[in-house]
Assembly symmetry: C2
Homo-oligomer: 330 residues x 2
């Protein structure tokens, strides 16, 4: 469309989060597996919402959070994702644009409403997510804007996109377009259950189509079908240009062909809400990567951005990430 | 309706807040007076929203915040206020009920959408509010549920209700019903500009119809037409059963006929967002008052609840206020 160039174009679910505090007993009563994401239908979304504590609505979506984080670190970011032309869709579009991210995917004029994710935050700061995909199921290959991808150093795909059926096609088209333009393609695995739902697809895609892979421990284990982290890392070693495995308070491991870097976590006074930790790690890492920084510094930027996001409710940055980065990584 | 009894029934605007960070320069560019509330129309609301930073949506409304705070302190609370039957109206209703407040006012089936308040929070934690009253303008005397008021020890009215014209009538009806049932009527002045818009009405109402008055310094000065706090306090002294003047970091002054109590503020490590400070002070005070606590203890409960709310974004409590109160005021 334009002569703009981007560091990263994220493609993912366009979701508004509804965050509320919840007791451990509530998760048990509702049969929810802590720390994971469940897909729910509109009926269940209404039921669960009725039972939830008071909420706060904040724009979310994994890749969208990452792009907001990248923009907060002065990266040039674009986002492709589907909302409906309703109030929540307007909130999503306002928030991502106000964060400095280019977002031009046309909203659906009909069909299901804008997606929402009911996020239950337990006293330990862990989040348990329940996603009603709504309008996200309408994302298709026609929404993949080739010019934006060709103008982006990295195309960043979220694994959650494997859930809405048409989006998987969009995903493949995006990877092809980006590679045809000599660009890099990154993937984040999003959730261990999502990996299990689509393991074969993920594996065949990763070999040959993905240059950078982001996963946490559970996702790396689910993808490799191994029993522990060490085996998962050994299996992944050398498979891709770069694999980043995040480990919460243990930091992260960066695997490249022939080397392995360990990155420490940034300490935080209190973990309030881990929603978005992985998304912001990826944001920081990609901010460094697209500026050609050494990989350990990319990891440190990721750890820094993740530490900010877990210090407050919600998965979009509140502090000035650029200033934080300047102080922490001069 | 029911055989329920309440400590307090709040009547006020039913609003969803959209909170965003803003620079001082943005306030200047937009001609906004820091720390105050401006009424805006739908057109201006859209314009300002477009220019704002990414937001988070949290249920608000002054009296509604106070009732949520009272419920968090284990008080029995009800709320009367008007939303539209739209998505934001659903969010408001969910949040106040999930907070433990009885809310049965029927939503409007047509007319303007649910009210929203665009709140700009500057780096010093001060909030500047821009309210589109929307469906609140539909609150009328028919919404004042007499049985609820007769069953409430205190009817708590927010001064903002003087802005939507039909609500003023509801306000008078509520005061009459409550007094006829031998109950107390409390009023919070809400905002100095609101007081200036309706000063004569406020004065004639306060003399004779109000038992408890809540005001901050600027509102007390605006109401009395005096030039400083000392003169305002001297003017208010002895006028009502109880007058509470809140003074931010300086604590509060409680005036009763023949006595004056000074209450210190609770120190907070960092003021994040002052939205709701006055609302939560009133909540804490009323929690003590309706349990027959000595007035200085009522003031301390108010200061405690206010200190919690200014430590995070948004005007509804996040911490366990009852536990905090038990620790701080054994």
């Amino acid at each position: 469309m334009s002569a703009k160039s981007y560091d990263v174009c994220g493609i993912g679910d366009a979701i508004v989060d509804v965050l509320a505090q919840a007791k451990e007993t509530f998760l048990a009563e509702q049969n929810l597996a802590k720390g994971t994401m469940s897909l729910i239908d509109g009926h269940r979304a209404e039921e669960l919402y009725r039972l939830m504590e008071p909420g706060r609505e904040v724009s979310g979506g994994s890749a969208a959070n990452s792009m907001a984080g990248l923009a907060a670190l002065e990266g040039r970011a674009a986002f492709i994702g589907k909302v409906r032309n309703d109030r929540l869709g307007g909130i999503f579009a306002h928030d991502i644009r106000a964060a400095g991210v280019d977002f031009t995917t046309p909203p659906a004029e009909s069909g299901p409403p804008t997606a929402r994710c009911l996020i239950l935050v337990t006293p330990d700061g862990e989040r348990t997510m329940n996603t009603f995909l709504g309008a996200c199921t309408g994302l298709g290959p026609e929404d993949v804007d080739g010019e934006t991808l060709q103008a982006s150093k990295v195309t960043y795909l979220e694994g959650y996109l494997f859930d809405p059926p048409a989006a998987k096609e969009a995903f493949h088209k995006a990877a092809e377009l980006a590679h045809a333009a000599g660009r890099k393609v990154a993937l984040t695995l999003s959730d261990p259950f999502c990996v299990e739902r689509h393991r074969a697809d993920f594996r065949s895609l990763i070999e040959g189509h993905i240059d950078l892979l982001f996963a946490n421990e559970a996702e790396a284990i689910a993808l490799t079908g191994t029993g522990d982290l060490a085996s998962a890392l050994a299996t992944l070693e050398g498979k891709l240009d770069i694999t980043v495995v995040t480990r919460s308070a243990e930091g992260a491991v960066i695997l490249v062909r022939g080397a392995r870097h360990e990155v420490a976590a940034f300490p935080v006074p209190r973990v309030v809400d881990t929603t978005g930790a992985g998304d912001l790690f990826a944001a920081g890492f990609l901010a460094g990567y697209t500026r050609g920084k050494p990989l350990p510094d990319c990891g440190r930027l990721g750890a820094l951005a993740a530490s900010e996001i877990i210090s407050h409710f919600g998965a979009r940055p509140e502090a000035d990430l650029t200033a934080l980065a300047r102080r922490a990584l001069p």
